[in-house]
Amino acid sequence: MKTLFAGTALALVLGAGAVSAAETTACLITKTDTNPFFVKMKEGAGAKAKELGLTLNTYAGKLDGDVETQVAAVESCIAAGAKGILITPSDSRALAPVVGKAREAGVLVIALDTPFEPIEAADATFATDNFLAGELIGQWAAAKMEDPADARIALLDLNPSQISVDYLRDNGFLKGFGVDIKDPTKMGDEDDPRIVGNDVTNGNEEGGRTAMENLLQKDPGVNLVYTINEPAAAGAFEALKAVGLEEQALIVSVDGGCPGVQNVEAGVIGATSMQFPLKMASMGIEAIKAYAETGEKPKASEGLDFTNTGVELVTDQPVEGIPSITSKEALEKCWG
């Protein structure tokens, strides 16, 4: 009985593969289909696929961290005979085995935005240099503050899972600011007395507000706030405003979503590092097309183990030596 099922499944897989030989299929698997970042990614992939004549199947987890749904999506893509999979892994380690299966089946796997661990688990990674994104806002903050030695830093991270995008931005920021970060793959292991503490936000306003309140409770003198993304930054600002400390603290963030850029314009966020989800997705589709035609796999950017899709610092208070664009310019390129 079991062999019969297995046989049928195999036949189905082969059958599907045969069909798609005529027409190249690509898969896009995002963490959620709710976050505007992934919505933009889907738009970019969809537009490019149409232009190049590829069939695009899209899948998404229910919420950030939903590993099971993503595993099932990868399996569906293998079964559907896709030529390539673009994926933003919800868990950079847990998804590695299943994409390994996909690669064995001859599918090109490209990680978008969030690198796998190890990064070689995918054929290529198209991502923002998240460490650099953090470094830029860290350097900006150091230049902006009167005396960085007097900084009281609150770190508002994503969640307790220590995923790559989370620790890369966090540690990048600290390094840019001039803190000894110890293990660059760990958050919260620093012993610099200027750090008030880390707390988690789940990347939304509610979490940002509560986390900021908690850290203010630890030290009401917080004057520099790093946030994992702009919704968390908006929440942190509300918490500061509620106790009348919004003038005391400088807020920096990463993302470049349109509401975030508007918050830079409004003075809520001092500076943010903008990333380009649309570009990641359209580059990914191009790479799958090239792989389908020539079998050639994309190469990483020089000096990095992934392909950098670019990051730009957005601020209306530029400092010398750090190139940046204004919020007005950024509004033209923002996503969401």
Binding site: T34, N35, P36, V39, L63, P160, D199, V200, N202, G203, N204, E205, E206, G207, R209, T210, E213, N214, Q217, K218, P231, A234, G235, F237, E238, K241, A242, V243, P259, Q262, N263, A266, V268, G336
Partner: protein, 361 residues
């Protein structure tokens, strides 16, 4: 004959004299005295809010000693009130459902959906804010009635019903909002009334928000309704034994329907409060609010089997969670151990409930 009768009587009386010395009670309860543990068990049974109150006071005292003035300050204690206010209000709605032996997984989804509807109407469509809020309240009540309809008419178990509507309401929320938050500044400019529950009253270093006050008021009103009105007694009766309640002449379906509608309305009110609390309107917020509200209800000593527990218990339950989180955080405990502690609280609370239930009333 006339001689013998008295003599036999006398003989019988003599024979029966032993009865005088015998135990004459016809039937009596086991005279066995209650030990202190049993006394406690009985006290808790007749007064189910006692456990959460003791735990709450105990936790405040312990964390007060460990973390000192950082924890035990008017500022921090009122901050805890602020932080639990939204989950607290949801827990009030949840308590109503749990008292009828149901469970509602959709409370937070209804709330977030209604906040998005109110925000879209007031901020983007130019609808006057009071009208937008009325729509949100009515929408909340309607959503609750939809749950109630499925439970009472289609006869689906509450768990399955609300598991389904949770997803439905969440999806509608993402569709309506485009998964985008409505920014704080836009709300300030167009409809500041939406954020009124975020306003604070400062008394010394205490910071009491209108949202915290709203939470307490919601609980007091519900406490009155449940304990001092016929409707309230019906809710308890239906939760304890729906069949017996029906035989006693209570219209159980109508009672259940009213409970679900009221719970939905409270979620609509929570939507208003949540906008003030968060500052912006975030479609991604409170994704686990349903489970957190159940946690508060359970820790508050309200029986998941229905018909037993005081609604005020849920308020204390919510506060206990807030106190633990704040206390552990200030003691420098990592987030994951806070989650660990809350897990144990739930298990211990339900274990105590089971133990109390063993008492025969």
């Amino acid at each position: 004959m006339s001689e013998t009768i008295p003599s036999t009587r006398r003989a019988a009386q003599e024979f029966e004299t032993v009865i005088d010395g015998a135990d004459r009670r016809v039937a009596a309860f086991d005279p066995h005295r209650r030990g202190p543990v049993e006394k406690l068990q009985h006290a808790l049974h007749s007064n189910p809010t006692l456990v959460p109150v003791i735990v709450l006071l105990g936790a405040v005292a312990v964390f007060g000693v460990i973390s000192g003035s950082k924890f035990f300050s008017a500022f921090n204690l009122t901050l805890i009130m602020q932080q639990v206010s939204i989950i607290g209000i949801l827990a009030a709605a949840q308590s109503l459902i749990v008292l009828t032996a149901g469970i509602d997984l959709s409370v937070a989804a209804i709330m977030v959906l209604m906040s998005v509807i109110a925000g879209n109407l007031a901020v983007f469509s130019g609808v006057p804010a009071p009208l937008a809020l009325i729509v949100a309240f009515a929408g909340g009540a309607l959503a609750g009635m939809f749950n109630g309809f499925l439970v009472t008419r289609v006869k689906l178990p509450p768990f399955i019903t609300t598991l389904g509507t949770w997803s439905i309401f969440f999806a509608l929320n993402l569709w309506l909002s485009g998964a985008q938050s409505i920014r704080s500044q836009d709300i300030d400019a167009e409809a500041p009334l939406l954020k009124v529950f975020g306003e604070t009253i400062a008394i010394g270093s205490a910071r009491i928000t209108w949202g915290s006050i709203l939470m307490v008021v919601v609980f007091l009103v519900l406490w009155y309704m449940l304990n001092k009105t016929a409707w309230g007694r019906h809710v308890y009766a239906v939760g304890d034994d729906a069949e017996a309640a029906e035989l006693a002449g209570i219209r159980t379906r109508r009672t259940l329907m009213s409970v679900y509608a009221l719970a939905g309305l409270i979620c609509g009110i929570a939507a208003w409060a949540s906008i003030g609390r968060v500052g912006s309107i975030s479609p991604q917020a409170f994704y686990e609010g349903n489970l957190q509200s159940i946690t508060a209800v359970v820790i508050g000593g309200i029986s998941l089997f229905g018909g037993r527990g005081s609604i005020l218990g849920a308020l204390f339950g919510a506060l206990i969670v807030g106190v633990f989180q704040s206390g552990l955080r200030l003691a420098g405990v990592d987030v994951l151990w806070q989650v660990f502690a809350i897990g144990w609280l739930i298990i211990i609370a339900v274990a105590i409930d089971q133990w109390i239930r063993k008492v025969s009333a």
